[in-house]
C-alpha cells in the first residue's frame, strides 16, 4: 500500500523476512510443540530458538525468564495481578498518571476492589518527581508499575533508578516497555527490574504476541492456569508461528538498534524542526531531550486533531492524535491533560512515529504538506484571525460549555 506511515507507535509493518520465517508454521510445521511425535518436536525447537532471540534482545540472564503471552496488555495484567496475589497482605500499588490504559484501567478496577493506588503526577514535560515516589514506597506496596517510554510523547522514565529504589524498600517493580524494546538498549541481567512487558507488533512482529519477562526467583502467580506451557506460568497452546516471528523480529531489532538511534532519530529531528519552522503556534510536547528516537508529538494550537488526521489521510499520511474524538472515549489524551497542556492545544496534538522503513523523501513530503493543512483548518477556527490567534483568544471566543 502506498502512503506515508508515521504511526509506528500504534503498530508496525511486519518485516518480509519475519513473514517468511513464520509461514511454514501454519502448514508443514503445524504440530503441537507438546506432542511426542516429530510433527511437534520441530515446532518445540523453533520456539526454543525464538526464546533465545528474545532473551538476547532483552539481555536476560536465562531463557526461562521469557514467558510468551498474547499481547502487551496480557503481560501487564499478568505482572500486576501476579504481584498482588503473591503478596495478599499488601494492598497498595504505585503507578503514574500517564501509563497506557492496559495499566491504568486495571489499577482503576483494582481500586474498586479495595486497593489503594498511588498515581504519580508528571510535570509539564511529563517528568516524575522521584522524591514523591520514594516516600510512597513501603511494605504495604505490592507492586510498582511504571512505563519505560510513553507511547504518546516518547518520554523516557528513569525505570532503572526507580526499580532500585523499589528493591531497597522490598517492593516488586514492573515496567511496561512496549514502546522501548527495540528502540533503547536493554540489559536485564544487570537490571533491578523484576518484570517487563513487551509487545510483538510494536517491533515489526505480528499482532497477537507478547512477552512477560520475569526475573528468576521473583514470586509469581499465573493469570491462566490449565497447562504446562511456559513452565506452567502461562497455560494455553503456544502461538508457534507468531513466537517464531517475534524471535526473528527481536534479532532484527537488535541489528537495527544503532540505525534507530542515529538515522531514524535524524529523520525525526528533521521532521520536527521542519514543521516547527513553518507552522506558528505549534510546540513539541513531552521531555524532548529525553525521549524515544522515533517519536515526535506536536501540539498545533487552536485546531482539533481528528480534523488534522482526516486531512493528512487524504494525502496518504498516517499519524495519530491525542484529541478526544480519535479515541472514541470523548476525553482528550490523559497524557496531555496530566502534563497540563491547555485543551485548545491538547486536542490538536499530533503524534508522528517513525520506523526504520521511513525515508527522507517521505519526511520532506510531510514537512511540505503539514503547514497547508494546519492553515486550512485554522481558517475554520473561531480562535484564529487572519494571520494569527485572535487577540485574547480565550475571551474573544468563550462558548457556553455543555
Amino acid at each position: 500500500m502506498d502512503g506515508i506511515y508515521l504511526d509506528n507507535n500504534a503498530t508496525t509493518r511486519v518485516d518480509d523476512a519475519v513473514v517468511a520465517a513464520m509461514l511454514p508454521f501454519f502448514t508443514e510445521q503445524f504440530g503441537n510443540p507438546s506432542s511426542m511425535h516429530s510433527f511437534g518436536n520441530k515446532v518445540g525447537l523453533a520456539i526454543k530458538k525464538a526464546r533465545l532471540q528474545v532473551q538476547d534482545l532483552l539481555g536476560a540472564e536465562h531463557d526461562s525468564e521469557i514467558i510468551f503471552t498474547s499481547c502487551g496488555t496480557e503481560s501487564d495484567s499478568t505482572a500486576i495481578l501476579s504481584a498482588i496475589r503473591a503478596n495478599p497482605d499488601r494492598k497498595e500499588i504505585i503507578t503514574t498518571s500517564i501509563e497506557h490504559p492496559a495499566v491504568l484501567a486495571l489499577c482503576a478496577h483494582l481500586e474498586k476492589e479495595g486497593f489503594k493506588v498511588h498515581t504519580l503526577k508528571v510535570d509539564e514535560r511529563g517528568r516524575l518527581d522521584l522524591d514523591v515516589y520514594g516516600k510512597l514506597l513501603s511494605n504495604r506496596v505490592a507492586v510498582v508499575s511504571v512505563m519505560w517510554a510513553n507511547n504518546e510523547t516518547g518520554t523516557l522514565f528513569p525505570v532503572e533508578e526507580m526499580a532500585r529504589m523499589a528493591h531497597a524498600a522490598g517492593v516488586l517493580f514492573h515496567t511496561d516497555a512496549v514502546q522501548a524494546v527495540g528502540k533503547v538498549p536493554i540489559d536485564m541481567k544487570h537490571s533491578a527490574i523484576d518484570m517487563l512487558s513487551l509487545s510483538g507488533h510494536k517491533l515489526h512482529a505480528p499482532k497477537g504476541i507478547g512477552v512477560l519477562y520475569l526475573k528468576r526467583g521473583v514470586r509469581f502467580r499465573p493469570l491462566l492456569r490449565g497447562g504446562h506451557q511456559e513452565r506452567g506460568r502461562r497455560a494455553g497452546t503456544e502461538n508457534a508461528a507468531s513466537i517464531v516471528a517475534l524471535g526473528m523480529a527481536c534479532e532484527q531489532a537488535q541489528a537495527a538498534m544503532h540505525y534507530e538511534n542515529t538515522e531514524v532519530k535524524r529523520l525525526r529531528d528533521k521532521l520536527e524542526a521542519g514543521i516547527l519552522a513553518k507552522v506558528p503556534r505549534a510546540f513539541p510536547t513531552g521531555d524532548v531531550t529525553n525521549r524515544l528516537p522515533n517519536t515526535s508529538n506536536i501540539a498545533f494550537e487552536f485546531i482539533e486533531g481528528e480534523a488534522i488526521l482526516l486531512l493528512l489521510n487524504k494525502f496518504g499520511i498516517a499519524a495519530s492524535s491525542g484529541s478526544a474524538c480519535t479515541s472514541g472515549s470523548l476525553e482528550p489524551s490523559h497524557v496531555m491533560r496530566a502534563m497540563g497542556i491547555p485543551y485548545t492545544a491538547a486536542h490538536g496534538t499530533t503524534r508522528f512515529s517513525l520506523s526504520r522503513y521511513t525515508t527522507e523523501a517521505e519526511i520532506d513530503r510531510v514537512i511540505q504538506i503539514i503547514p497547508e493543512i494546519i492553515a486550512q483548518l485554522r481558517k475554520l477556527s473561531p480562535y484564529w484571525g487572519e494571520t494569527g490567534p485572535v487577540t485574547e483568544a480565550d475571551k474573544a471566543f468563550a462558548p457556553v460549555y455543555a
Binding site: F302, I303, E304, G305, E306, A307, L310, L311, N313, K314, S323, A324, C325, T326, G328, S329, L330, E331, P332, Y343, T344, A346, H347, K379, L380, S381, P382, Y383, F397, A398, P399, V400, Y401, A402
Partner: protein, 297 residues
C-alpha cells in the same frame, strides 16, 4: 477510523459557509468541554420578516463537528426563526446521512448553537438544558448523565429497569458493566446496595399498599386503558382472576392465538407494573404454555 458517510466527508473536506461574518446580527457560541468541540454560528436575520438570509460558522472540532456545522448552515438558510427553532439534532444527522453514535453530540452542538444564536438575536439569555457525559451505550448513543438522572428520578434499581426507561443496554449488552456501576453509585446515594440477583425477592417482600378491592379495581382501570388498542386490531382482553402477584386474563378475538400474543402480554405486564408500582405476572388463564413467555424477564 470512524465510519463516516460520504456526505459527512464531503461537508468536512469542502465545508459550506465557513468563516467569519462581519455583519452578523445573531451569534451563538457553544461547545462541549468533554470533546473539546466548540462552534460559533453567525446569522444575518432580516428584521422585518425574521428570516435567516445568511448563515456562517467557525468551528474548533473534529471532522463530524465541522460537517455538522456546515450542514446546519445549509439547512437553516432561508428559514424563518420560528421554523429554524424546530430543527433538531436528528435533522442535522439525517442531512449528513447519519453520524456514528459517538458523534451524535456534534449534531446536538449544532442545534444548541442555533438556539443560542436566535436567543442572542432576540435579546434573550440562552441556557444549556443538558449536560453530556461519557458515552455508555454505543448501540443507542446514551450517555452516563442521562442514565444517572433517569435512575435517580425513577428510583430504578436493575439493569432491566435502565433498559426499559432509557433503552441503554438494550442492544449488544456489552455496556451492562458500565450500567451496573452507575446503579451501584446511585443506589449507594439512597442507602441501598446494588445486587444483580435480588430484584424479584425485593419486590415480593414489598407489601402492596392497596386493599385487594382497590387493587383489582386499579387493574381493571389499567386494562380499560389498553382495551381500545386491542379492539382496533379486532381483539380484546378480560380479567379472570387476581391471585397475589399473578393476574389471570383471557385473550379474546383476534388476540387469541395471535403470534404476537406473548409480546402483547409482556407489554401489558410492563404497563401494569409501572402503574401499580409493584411486580406482577400476567398469565393467560386458558393456557399454561404462554405463561412462561409472559413472566418477568
Amino acid at each position: 477510523m470512524w465510519d463516516y458517510s460520504d456526505k459527512v466527508k464531503e461537508h468536512f473536506f469542502s465545508p459550506h459557509n465557513a468563516g467569519a461574518m462581519d455583519d452578523a446580527n445573531a451569534v451563538g457560541d457553544v461547545g462541549s468541554i468533554n470533546c473539546g468541540d466548540a462552534l460559533r454560528l453567525m446569522l444575518k436575520v432580516d428584521p422585518d420578516t425574521e428570516t435567516i438570509q445568511d448563515a456562517r460558522f467557525q468551528t474548533f472540532g473534529c471532522g463530524s463537528a465541522i460537517a455538522s456545522s456546515s450542514a446546519l448552515t445549509e439547512i437553516i438558510k432561508g428559514m424563518s426563526l420560528d421554523d429554524a427553532l424546530k430543527v433538531s439534532n436528528q435533522d442535522i444527522a439525517d442531512y449528513l446521512d447519519g453520524l456514528p453514535p459517538e458523534k451524535m453530540h456534534c449534531s446536538v452542538m449544532g442545534r444548541e448553537a442555533l438556539q443560542a444564536a436566535i436567543a442572542n438575536y432576540r435579546g434573550e439569555e440562552w441556557k444549556d438544558d443538558h449536560e453530556e457525559g461519557a458515552l455508555i451505550c454505543k448501540c443507542f448513543a446514551i450517555d452516563a448523565v442521562l442514565i444517572e438522572d433517569t435512575v435517580r428520578a425513577n428510583s430504578l434499581s436493575t439493569v432491566e429497569d435502565v433498559i426499559h426507561y432509557t433503552k441503554a443496554g438494550g442492544g449488544c449488552s456489552s455496556c451492562h458493566e458500565g450500567i451496573e456501576e452507575i446503579l451501584t453509585k446511585v443506589l449507594a446515594e439512597r442507602g441501598e446496595t446494588f445486587s444483580p440477583h435480588t430484584v424479584e425477592l425485593k419486590e415480593e417482600d414489598k407489601p402492596s399498599k392497596l386493599t385487594n378491592l382497590q387493587r383489582i379495581k386499579r387493574i381493571e382501570t389499567i386494562l380499560e386503558g389498553i382495551r381500545p388498542q386491542l379492539q382496533r386490531d379486532h381483539g380484546d382482553i378480560e380479567l379472570v382472576d387476581v391471585d397475589g402477584k399473578t393476574i389471570y386474563v383471557n385473550m379474546i378475538g383476534a388476540c387469541s392465538g395471535c403470534q404476537m400474543e406473548a409480546m402483547t402480554l409482556q407489554g401489558i405486564q410492563q404497563k401494569m407494573m409501572e402503574d401499580l408500582g409493584e411486580f406482577v405476572k400476567i398469565v393467560p388463564s386458558r393456557a399454561g404454555s404462554l405463561s412462561r413467555a409472559a413472566s418477568h424477564p
